[in-house]
Each structure stands twice: as C-alpha cells, then as structure tokens.
Symmetry: C2
Subunit: 443 residues, 2 copies
Amino acid sequence: MSNDSEGKSGNRKPQILKGFRDYLPEHMRLRQQIIGKFRAVFESHGFEPLDTPVLEYLEVLTGKAGENEKLMYGFEDHGGRKIGLRYDLTVPLARVVAMHQAHIPLPFKRYHIAPVWRAEKPQRGRFREFWQCDADIAGAPSALADAEILAILGESLDAVGLPNYTIQVSHRQLLARVAVWAGIEEGLAGQVYRSVDKLAKIGPDAVVAEMVEGGVEQPAAAKALRLLVEASASDDALGFIRDSLGDDPVADTALAELQEIFEVLPSMGITGKAVFDPTLARGLDYYTGPVFEAVVEEPRIGSVAGGGRYEDLIGSFANRTITATGVSLGLERIIEVVREFDLLPGDGGSADVLVVTMPGAAAYAASVASQFRQAGFRTELSSQPNRSVGDQLKYGSKKGIRFAVIGGEAERESQQVALKDLESGEQRTMSVHEVIQSLQQAE
Amino acid sequence: MSNDSEGKSGNRKPQILKGFRDYLPEHMRLRQQIIGKFRAVFESHGFEPLDTPVLEYLEVLTGKAGENEKLMYGFEDHGGRKIGLRYDLTVPLARVVAMHQAHIPLPFKRYHIAPVWRAEKPQRGRFREFWQCDADIAGAPSALADAEILAILGESLDAVGLPNYTIQVSHRQLLARVAVWAGIEEGLAGQVYRSVDKLAKIGPDAVVAEMVEGGVEQPAAAKALRLLVEASASDDALGFIRDSLGDDPVADTALAELQEIFEVLPSMGITGKAVFDPTLARGLDYYTGPVFEAVVEEPRIGSVAGGGRYEDLIGSFANRTITATGVSLGLERIIEVVREFDLLPGDGGSADVLVVTMPGAAAYAASVASQFRQAGFRTELSSQPNRSVGDQLKYGSKKGIRFAVIGGEAERESQQVALKDLESGEQRTMSVHEVIQSLQQAE
C-alpha cells in the first residue's frame, strides 16, 4: 500500500479514505430495502438479531481465519490495549456464544447484519469497509441445520429478485478424504482447500502447481484434482466419488450428510437451485463439514454468498465443542447486481409530497403538511419560505418528488390548496381533504 | 484509564472490551423496534437516509468539537495514514455535503442512525460505543427549519411512548449578548456556554466559579447568570430578556427567531412540550443559533436528545457558508428508559411457532414449517431431530415460543399435526390448514 499517497497533502479537505465510500440517500434506500428483505427471511425462520462491538481485543480476533487476519485494522487504544476492528461476523458470534452460554439456549439461531473491515488493496467493487449479512445456527450438529441455512440463502436471493443463481454444495471431509485417497498427507488438507478453491479462477494446471508449491507431491495433486473434476462432470457426482473412494467410513458419513441435505431441500422449497459440486472448497480455514457458495453465472457475477459448517471455532472460546453452520451474504455485491439489473422496484424518492411555504403562511403550510403525514404520505415541508414558489417547485423536481401542494394566506380561511403534479405540470385547487382523497385514490 | 488492567492477562479468553457490550437478541429486537419508529418519523418528513464510513482521516475529524476530540479513537493504518473512528455523525455530514455538493440539492434533509466511538471513562449507562440517531437540515437558514427539527424530535419521543419530556429551547446569540451586556468579553463566549451548560448539574455558584476560572470577571459572571436565572423564573422569559438588554439588534434577531419557532410549533402538532429556557446553553462549541435539549424530569432521567443550529461547520469543508440545524437522539439512554418503564409492547420473542422434528420425518416437518411461514408466521424448524420431543418442547418454552407443532411419519399421510400451546399445555390434533386458521383467528 506504499503507493497510496492520498492523505499526506490537503488541509481540512473534505476527503474520504481510499477503499471507503459514502452511502448517499438513493443508494441507502436500496440498501435498506435489501436489508429489510433479508431480515424478513431470517426472522420468518425464527432467527434472532445480534450485534456486537466494532472493536474487539486483538487476541479475540486472531488465530481464526488465516489470510484475512493480515488485513485486519489493529491498533493500541488509550489504555495500551491491543485492539482491532472486526473482519468478519463469525468470530464475534463465537465469542458471544462462549461468553453468554448461561443466557443463550442452544441451538442459537442468530442473524447479524453489520459492517466489517479489511485493509485490502482497493479495486473496483472491493471495499475496505463492507457489510455482511450472516445467518448461523450454533449448537445443532444435524445436517437439517445445514439444509435450513441453504434454504434461507435461497429465499434471501429470491427475495431480492436475483436471477439464475446456483448454490454449489460440497463437504470438507469429502475433499479431505479425496486428498488422502490420492496420496496427499492429511496435514496438507488446508493447502488443498485453498488451492482447489481457486479452480474456477485460475484453472486446473495452476491449482496443481499451487498445491505442489505448498508441499504436495505432483502426482497426488493431479490425481486428487482429476477425481474432483471428473466427478463434477458426471451425472451422479456423489455416486462417482463413493465408488472411487471405496470403503471409507469418514467419506461415507460426509456423503450421507450431503444426501440428507439434498433430500430435505425440496420440502424447504429449494428445488434445482442447489447442486453438489465436488470442486467447491471454500478458502477459509475453519470449515469442517458441508460448505456452500451461491454463484450467479449469467450474467457472470460470481460468488454472492458462502458458508458452511465449522466445528471448532466456538470451541476455541468455550471450553466445549459447539458446532455451528451458517451463511454470509455479501451485501455489496448483491446491491451492485440488484442496481445494475434493476431487480427491485423504485423506492419512490425522498417524499411523496412537497408543501410549498409562502411568506407569512408558514404555520398554514406546516399544518397542511401535518395533515398529509397523518394520512400516511411522506411529506416534506419546504424549508425555504423566503424563496419564490418557482424555486421551491424546482427543488421538488430535483428531488424527484411527484406532487407539490401550494397554499398561502388567501387559501388559509377556506382550507384550500393548489395541488401541482410536478411531472405533468397540471395544477388544480381543492380542499386539503380532497387532495388527500385524490392522492389516496391515485396510489 | 491507567487503572484498567483488563486485557493484559487471558489467552483466547472470550472477553469484551470495557465500555463495550454485546446486543443480545431481546435487546436487539427492542433496539430495532425503536430505530424503526425513529426512521418512520424521519421519513414521514421527507428526510433521507445517509451512512458514512466508520473510519475517517484524522484531519477531517479534528478541530470541530472541542472536548470530544480528546476521546477520539485514532491510529495509523497500514499505509501510515492517520485515521480515526468517528465520534459523532455531524462532522461526517459536513464532509459529505462539501464533497458531494454537485449531487446533493440543498436544503439537504438527512437522517443518520449509526454508532460512534468515544474513549470515555466507562460508567453505568455510559459506553465507548454508542448509537446516535441524527436528523439535520443543511442549507436552510430559516427558523422554520429549526422548528421542523423540534417537531421531529417531539414526534420521535412520542413514537416510543416517552412520558413527560420537555424540550428546552434557547439561542446561542441571545446568551452571547447577555454575556456582553453583563460585561464579559466576546472572546469568552465559549467559556460562558460550557459553564452555563452545567447549571442543572453543578448549581449557580459552581457555574460562576468555573467562569471565573476561565477568565471571566466575577461580577460580570454573576450578573449574566443572575439575568438568565431570573428570566427563567419569569412568566415571559423572552420579554424579560428583551427588556433587560434594551436596544440590541443581534439579540432582537435571536429573539425574533425564537418567537417564530414558538409561533409555528403548534401548527406542527407540538404544543406545551417546547419551552424557552434561557439557562440552556449546550456544551458543544459549534452551535451558533437556536439550541435545544429534550429532558425527562419525572422520572428523573435527564437529557435524551439535543441539537441546534451550526453555521460554520459545513463551511469549514465547503468553500462557502452552508448553515445547518439538527438534532441527535441518544439511542442508548432512550432504550434504557423504554425498557425500564416498559413503554413499548413486547416483541413476541424469536418466533410464533416451533415445528418439532421427529426422527425420519424431517422432510414433513420442513414442509409444515414452510406452510406456516407462507401464512405469515415466524416459524422455527427445530434443528434437533435426534432429541426427544420433550427436549424440543423445552427448548421452545425457553425461547418463549408460544405454540409448538408436532407431526411424525404417522401424520404425514393425512397432513395432520398436533398443535401444543406451550403456555397452557393444551394440545389438539388437526390438519395443518386448520392449525393455520386457528392461529390466524387467535391473533
């Protein structure tokens, strides 16, 4: 990051850090709309909201997520404590479950929608501050829990109108057993996950090369990858792998879990969207069971969400094993897609009605605005009583407000106002009551 | 803070920083309910949502808010940039308005609901991470804008059922002219504001003493304070000050602005709640016009919100004067009050219905749960298919879920389930459709 020179010049310049951005109103309304839809899905499944501090002890944050930790914002506070900004919402969940064991009945189904920070090299569509929408179940070892997470993922993507997504599903234990079957040492499983995870991005040769660089023997690396790719291409990938591995109790358990997940998904309303993809690995170190990722192929957007089962992360804080499974929806990517493809209806701008304020008639305008609000209309009272009516209307148009209401001293007595359609320019004078009725009918 | 020793011991202990806290589900639901009500008020007035990065350049944050800045969390990032966590939402607004002038039509009415950080000495009810709910109007010099902010403040407090609050209103220019009238140098106005602001907390003698310590002559300090206190006690405080100051154009303008505010407020639905209180000063440096504070006297809770007009803050970034006025609602204090006095109805817990999962009948349970969700019930599918029905019901009771639905293989054919009321213990067997109907009628 030494090539960044921003911030060294300038004096009280209104500047923003590279990799960060303001969420202006139009963007925020879309953001709130999408977050609202995710929340509705999560809550419909009985998931509960959780929030945690942005700042944590550095030692709480470290040792959990491999690569991502290097990108952590860490520093010393006034009291000399080493602290950091959270880089995901999973480690805080683990800490919370461990700290509040007495008050949290298990299984604990929680969602958490909040920003996280990673000092990544800024690039198009990649930010140093970004939001995650996570739903996790802690304390339920059943594959039914994984299936529910997958159902929630599908419902969430459906809720925002995302087209043509596929949820790829695999299993870390299966991948581990394929590696062992191919002759790779068990201790190198992490290297296998990280390399195979890049298959779609860098291709099979580079994946094998990376594994070799990480200490895997070339023939074993090639053999493992070949099986995964061949299984992928087969009509019955699960059967293909089962037959290839032969008698392997660990692999059989993993296969049975996947089978259970795929059997129950249709009853959860997920059909066809979720597929077994043996080449899916996920990069994060802490997954131990089923893993999954939602990708949009057409248009070619890539991954919009991912997750899986992690058995040891919560246990690293609590003094017992508490297995968990969950998904993280990448809000920024999803917003980008929704915006680019116009997947959700418009938000109606900042207000439905602008009440123009005439000199000496501010009180009348204020009371008219109150009446519109009581009738359920988002109503902006113009804050520019000293500007001309024309200027105030121009402001309304700029803001995309459809209707303006104009009433001066003369109209006060009769409780009349002029209603002006800022799109068509049409204007009629009526009582406040009639205007409200006509707008309600127009809705 | 050298007496804090937390954080120096411990190894992967699940610990949280002092002055920070987790927002567990029950608290979060109340929080979301309150934030939702504030948002509804803000949006009904045509205010638009804004969010900004948590991290800003240190030089953007400094030089704006006096005392509060000492409490800032500041550090160097990986690129050697001096950065900090925002300590309020007003400075970010000023930066945004200056940076995005071309895209933001003025007046800009925005709300911002988000956490801020201050390294204050932790104490009961005071946190280092806390949320503010701000509504501001930038670019509208009219007192009508101040009045609207006051109306929004009142409506927000009403929306969460806050009892017996008073909105105290005063004017910085009036206070400044009282100080000059009493013989205090104009340059010491800041000292006067900060000291008078503490009147309710420390009493008149201590206020005078503090002013004297800050360089004000004792007789002048006493004279200014006496006028403010006497005006406070009078039936016509505005008139009392006008008569005392005599011919003073600056004071007259301030008085006229206050008059205008109080004249329009009833048309905005605010009657009796807002009162002129000449002893109100507000501690922050940047206010330049009307200032206000909402206090709850009975029960004795104190300040729950405050704000005012600030003319120069946005101009310190933009190269022109953009006057603004706004209010900040203290979410933490308000939540505490709502919780303590049970001002809002219960939130209904995590789910309406728990669907018990019987061995071998997970798919049936999942499809029953889907049907309940489609009918609009928040429905938790039990993630413990391997636990007894009794254990699953116990979990439902612990979570405060009112109804459990139980269906095994035997019921699948007939689409029947048992509906159990976890409060009364009553249980009946019906079709899924009948259960949904009976729950809808019970609502």
